[in-house]
Amino acid sequence: MSSDARKTKAQRIRHLLETEGEAVEENTIGFNEGRYESVADLEAYEELKDEARAIKEDAIERLPELIEELRETVEENGGTLYLADDAADANRYIREVAEEQAADRVVKSKSMTSEELEVNEALEEDGVDVVETDLGEWVLQVADEAPSHIVAPAIHKSEAEIADLFNAQFDPEEPLETAEELTMFAREQLGELIRDADIGMTGANFVTADSGSIMLVTSEGNARKTAVVPDTHVAVAGVEKIVPSVEDLAPFIELIGRSGTGQDITSYVSLLTPPVDSPVVDVDDPDVAFADRDDDREFHLVLVDNGRMAMREDEHLRETLYCIRCSACANTCANFQSVGGHAFGGETYSGGIATGWEAGVHGTDSAAEFNDLCTGCSRCVEACPVKIDIPWINTVVRDRINREEDGQFDFLVEGLTPDEEPGSVDLQKRLFGNYETLAKLASATAPLSNWTTKLGPVRTLMEKTVGVDRRRPLPEFERQTLVDWFEARGPRVSAANAEREAVLYPDTYTNYIDVERGKAAVRVLEALDVHVRIPDVPGSGRAPLSQGMIDTADEKASRVFSGLAEHLDADRDVVVIEPSDLAMFRQEYEKFLPEASAQRLREGSYEVCEYVYGLLENGADGEGLRTGERGPDLAYHSHCQQRTLGLDRYTRAIFEDLEYDVLESDVECCGMAGSFGYKEQYYELSMDVGDRLADQFTTPEASDRLVVASGTSCEDQLEDLLARDAVHPVEVLDPRSRHH
């Protein structure tokens, strides 16, 4: 990405933050909080997600056979199934149906698949009036805008903006003002348009192969009207929507509303087996009783491939087909909460999983527009009702984008860079992906390197060439690394006297920059009678992975494992300070290492506070640690990946056991996300996300507390936002702690 392109992108994001950010933030955070509350009511939430996932895995595996079964049931029921290869094919078929019906008007209920097809435009070319009946979609149709959210398409618009729009467009006798007035006005207008519509078009959240039924999840009732009023029903659905049987719907009915907008269930779950028995609501026969009608309803199920069968064959994109389009991954995403789907989205889809959809149905170019906005924080992983590894899909697509871009530096870069990537990788990504090499060099030349990077002209140059935003303070490198310090100092608890033996993993940040937190970790472990070693093991590969440099990350994984294997075999515990590195060991490494190796490391490694908690629980004497009595009150922000791994509870438990007074943040992510907040094009977004955290730590109750964060990035972000020191939990517990 050129300097100009980065500036344009930053400008676009700034514009959305200013115009749509507020409404998007309020709505998505509301949905996300609703999700937490609603799923908490489910006794067997995890089991339900497993069940839903298993149904999808099975359905996608057996998809060709299910399509044929569905074709038979739909035809037996008296409907037609059309399998469309692509959008053009689907639109051609739908236009033919409209032509056969001599349709003047098609009324639609909300369907993202129909947005993907751009079927409205196709029908309008033939002079057909297409009306969106979902209130949010209708607002956008009137405003001529695109959805900013896959479930609540107009969340970027406030009540006042909609009122202005309607008043300008329709000039009602009394100007409309409240949501109630706007809703009733829309109901009336749309009711008229539905009354004499010729065709009703819906999507389908699920389609059951055994009965030929479609399930529609709505709250307004517009999908019910759309399906029942006209005599012709066209349902448009991606092929991935098929599940084997009606009974398979149960877990999805329980999960979809809760996961999406935080409703236990939406007002209506339509289970229609078309053509339906219900009478047509025919305005041309206003006095014929429904019971006396003899309707001959028509039903067309248009199943859309449009790249999906190829996604099914793609081992990395396949999981995308399990997506039930609930929007949980969008609502839980800190970046999405700030900018919404107009920035965090491609041609059709938005939010975390959109990268998979866009890459699969529109191609990597569309995905490349917004893929960078996934920082890999992983908060969406536990929110997803079918447990899709959304960050991984984003990483894989990023890797593919890296390989597709024009390689300006091919001839120069290959062979010279320390990574495993082709020359086409963007220079900015390459810089952050090779952060370890940079850190090593900067540490070796510190403090000169620190002085240099403080110079204005240097920062200008860095911004221009590699897009490091000049407003973001850079980390200061230590001349003496943690590994060197420890080698000189040696362990203070001998192996012979130790309760346990631990290997403290020297992550890049702790080793070269925040050496103090590494030293604190050593002292905390030794205070609990642990014999500590710090071997010279390389970076985990988190940095290159975050830039989509998968081969480089893979290579790092091998080197880390070979550096730790002997220790694991000797039953030494691997203790990790940085949660994002532990997340590599516990999750991503299974993709890079042989299963047995990945398992050994996964089972033998611990987050430092998880480890301390385990020691204390197993009877270690906590006397040597600083307790709440001697320490300060704390404002604690746990790390996104630490929370996804379920590890934040250990830090919380230790603080509680040691009687600290703790106030905890409840935001999903600090917004820094490793390199993200340094990038010129994303700096302002990063700060906007961070503001939510800053707000919680600047209240009167929080402003005098010591700021504590488990992640490197979070510490940096908090220091930049609050202009207060931020430390790691081990620096609080450190018997020699000077942090108050």
Binding site: A179, T183, M184, K225, E247, S267, P286
Partner: protein, 197 residues
């Protein structure tokens, strides 16, 4: 969760209350017509503009003042719709509304107030049980709506009920004790021990 689970009826009443949906329970000796009149008037509607579809229950049938042969014209002017629910789902406060050739779907959808009539014996505890009951129905070509509370939208900036469908829902629950013969099948035994598996 307490050790002693509430009965399906208690659970149903609690979930409806959380949805702000009112419910009237009537025992077999009570007059259904009288009860329905109270429901309609309590919600501020006129008993002259009530449409309905036949109830397949021996213990209750639509009174004369309900238009049980609605047309598009009368549907348009009606303010209350009365239809049968084939199932109730206690965990969610949902009613299952079967689509019928008589027009239960439009009747339950267009008027401002919807009154679903449910037999207590058709109340099941949870969603999987309800969907298990619906499986054979859907495979036989039938359709149904799982309806929970009124029609609602937040698309205009705040939560509003009555977006396209009813603004209010009032459930009438027919208590056990009658000898039903017209029901689709005798599920009473299953419903009676319909606690969580």
């Amino acid at each position: 969760m307490s050790v002693e689970s509430p009965s399906p009826v208690e659970r149903f009443e609690a979930t409806l209350a959380a949805l702000e949906v009112s419910i009237t329970r009537i025992d077999p000796d009570d007059e259904f017509a009288q009860c329905l009149e109270t429901v309609v008037t309590e919600h501020g509607h006129d008993t002259d503009s009530v449409v309905g579809t036949p109830l397949p229950f021996s213990s209750a049938s639509l009174p004369d003042w309900v238009d049980d042969e609605p047309t598009p014209e009368t549907l348009e002017t009606a303010t209350t719709g009365v239809t049968a629910a084939s199932l109730g789902i206690a965990d969610y406060g949902s009613v299952v509304l079967p689509s019928t050739a008589e027009g239960s779907e439009p009747v339950s959808l267009f008027p401002e107030l919807h009154v679903p009539v449910l037999r207590e014996s058709d109340l099941v505890a949870d969603m999987p049980t309800a969907i298990e009951r619906l499986g054979p129905e859907l495979r036989a070509g039938r359709s149904a709506i799982v309806a929970t509370g009124p029609s609602a939208t937040a698309d205009m900036g705040a939560l509003v009920t009555g977006a396209h469908g009813p603004k209010d829902v009032h459930v009438v629950l027919l208590e056990d004790g009658s000898t039903d013969t017209e029901g689709p099948e005798d599920d009473d035994a299953a419903a009676a021990n319909g606690g969580k598996a």
